[in-house]
């Protein structure tokens, strides 16, 4: 919930940064004062979003120590490097370049200011990369070794660090998240501009801003589809249960169908999306529970078998820790058993095989809303491009309203994506290794509820304040009198 709240602010930061940087580039390249004033207005909205979003991620770090202490210790070695880099980068790049961008219009040269505007956006994007390296590792824990002495997942070498930062899941999550931010930023610019057009205010400013919003949004939409395809292939490879839940696929097979809505299916489409082969095998929930053979002939054990191996690993871990000082030979034998079974260690904590099935209905519908709204936004952006090209936006009022409505839809789409990614991987905190019930601290339910509701109340208040300030700034409009006709 905390991460989902933080994610309310990040997409607009990433997307609006692109739009305003492009506008300022036009100012510097074309030496057109119009673009300077336009960039200033969008930077103002960026600053409001940034001010309220700033530090919402800090609460996650508090929760690591309080609610997720076991997990926090377990991943401390691995998470330390990317999160430290993220913190330093975020602080220095944002504190430096954001200040120049915000305060420096009259103090630095236009080119230096432009560089600061780009670097503010690039800094936020790089920050997102390091966060998603950490998140990607939780979905596909590569590059680390479990150390039974420290009870931590550790990176043993520079090569391991490289494996972690080039984790394919992290890379595709980064591309998908950042480009979905571009869509949010693009449709935000389009929607706000559409509102001015409907109110018959700042017409030229609105049309020219909308063009930039359309470009950012459409480039983002194309990239979201490509990176989404890559995310689907990775889910099939590393988290097949997440894919099966997102599809509500009980029994899989070759030429698996993609469900648009219940009862409407495209034959073979799921196999194409998941494996890039028409006759690729996609396991369903029952296949994963009972075990199956994949396309490469690998036999994937049933969950019951994985649970048995997981329990062997946990027993061996307990034996190793008890005997490592008193009986080195027994400890060495236990360590061998642990190493043979450690990839299924998390399964040893499950009570029954069905525990690995996430809430299918939630993931299934979140997936459909994400794709459906994402496609709708892309369509509205495309129609806006046509409307701008044919100069028909004045008479296409329905499209202007659609542009405005798409702003909240972009946020719902982003939250649905988050639900698919995070609820879809339940019960795992770290895929296959650490389930949620072991990752959490032994807190009373009342303590967790208290912190959650305090957080909810405080941050809901901040959200209301942000929306009020943002709407006030939009209502006031850009700070210049535009020429009659350009």
């Amino acid at each position: 919930m905390t991460a989902a709240y933080h994610w309310l602010f990040v997409p607009l930061t990433l997307g609006l940064a692109m739009a305003m940087a492009i506008m300022e580039t036009l100012y510097v390249v074309k030496k057109d004062e119009f673009w300077k004033k336009a960039a200033k207005f969008w930077i103002k909205l960026f600053a409001i979003n940034f001010a309220v979003g700033i530090a919402t991620g800090i609460i996650l770090e508090f929760e690591f120590g309080t609610n997720w202490s076991n997990y926090s210790w377990f991943v401390g070695d691995m998470f330390g490097a990317p999160l430290a880099i993220e913190g330093i980068l975020a602080f220095f790049m944002e504190a430096t370049f954001f200040a120049v961008m915000f305060f420096g219009w009259e103090k630095v040269s236009p080119k230096f200011h432009l560089a600061s505007t780009w670097l503010t956006g690039i800094g936020a994007t790089i920050s997102a990369y390091w966060i998603l390296v950490a998140n990607g590792w939780m979905q596909n824990p590569v590059g680390t070794t479990f150390n039974p002495d420290t009870v931590r997942s550790e990176m043993a070498s520079a090569a391991a660090f490289w494996q972690v930062i080039s984790n394919p899941v992290a890379v595709s999550k980064f591309c998908h998240s950042v480009t979905s931010g571009w869509v949010t930023g693009g449709i935000f610019v389009v929607g706000v501009s559409a509102w001015y057009l409907l109110k018959n205010r700042h017409i030229e400013f609105a049309k020219r801003s909308m063009l930039i919003g359309v470009i950012v949004g459409l480039v983002g939409s194309g990239a979201v589809m490509l990176s989404g395809d890559s995310s689907g292939v990775h889910a099939a490879e590393f988290q097949p249960m997440k894919l099966a839940a997102a599809e509500g696929l009980k029994d899989g097979g070759k030429r698996a169908s993609f469900t648009i809505i219940p009862g409407v299916k495209i034959p073979g489409m799921l196999s194409v999306l998941a494996t890039h082969k028409l006759d690729g095998f996609v396991p369903g929930i029952n296949d994963i529970l009972n075990g199956y053979t994949d396309d490469e002939g690998n036999v994937i054990p049933s969950v019951a078998d994985k649970m048995a191996m997981g329990r062997e690993a946990l027993d061996a871990l307990a034996t190793y820790r008890e005997r490592k000082d008193s009986d080195p030979a027994a400890a060495a034998a236990a360590l061998e058993v642990l190493r043979a079974n450690e990839r299924y260690m998390g399964y040893g904590h499950l009570e029954k095989p069905e525990d690995i099935v996430p809430p299918v209905g939630v993931v299934f519908w979140a997936f459909r809303l994400m794709i459906g709204f994402g496609m709708l936004i892309a369509l509205v952006l495309l129609l806006c491009a046509i409307g701008l090209w044919k100069d028909k936006l004045g008479s296409w009022k329905w499209l202007l309203w659609a542009g405005i409505i798409c702003i909240p839809l972009a946020y719902i789409t982003g939250q649905c994506g988050w639900i698919v990614a995070e609820v879809g991987r339940q019960p795992w905190t770290i895929q296959g290794i650490l389930p949620v019930n072991v990752a959490i601290s032994s807190l009373s339910a009342a303590a967790v509820k208290t912190t959650f509701f305090v957080f909810l109340a405080v941050f809901a208040l901040f959200l209301v304040i942000e929306i009020r300030i943002l709407l006030g700034a939009i209502r006031k409009g850009p700070d210049f009198v535009e020429p009659e006709k350009r």
């Binding site: 103002k44 001010a51 309220v52 120590g65 200040a99 120049v100 002495d149 072991v438 405080v458």
Partner: protein
């Protein structure tokens, strides 16, 4: 830009003048300050107490190792 005058004094001027001449941004600055106070002086101090605060590295390993190798954690920590 700052030139040889010093990057430090450039940023002091930048922030100083920026905050002094701020108009619509002032409520945002107060919002950030208020948020940081709530985060660090209230939530952190009274609600988000690190469970393993004060433990040595070895004790933390023991603590998590014990929880990892037993099925149902039973301890509760009440605030």
């Amino acid at each position: 830009m700052a030139g040889k005058k010093g990057i430090f004094s450039f940023f002091v001027d930048l922030y100083g003048d920026g905050f002094r001449n701020m108009t619509w941004g002032k409520p945002l600055v107060w919002l950030i300050v208020l948020k940081l106070v709530i985060l660090f002086a209230i939530l952190r101090v009274f609600f988000f107490k690190p469970v393993m605060r004060g433990m040595t590295e070895g004790e933390k390993s023991e603590f998590v190792g014990e929880r990892l190798t037993r099925k149902q954690p039973t301890d509760t920590i009440n605030f």
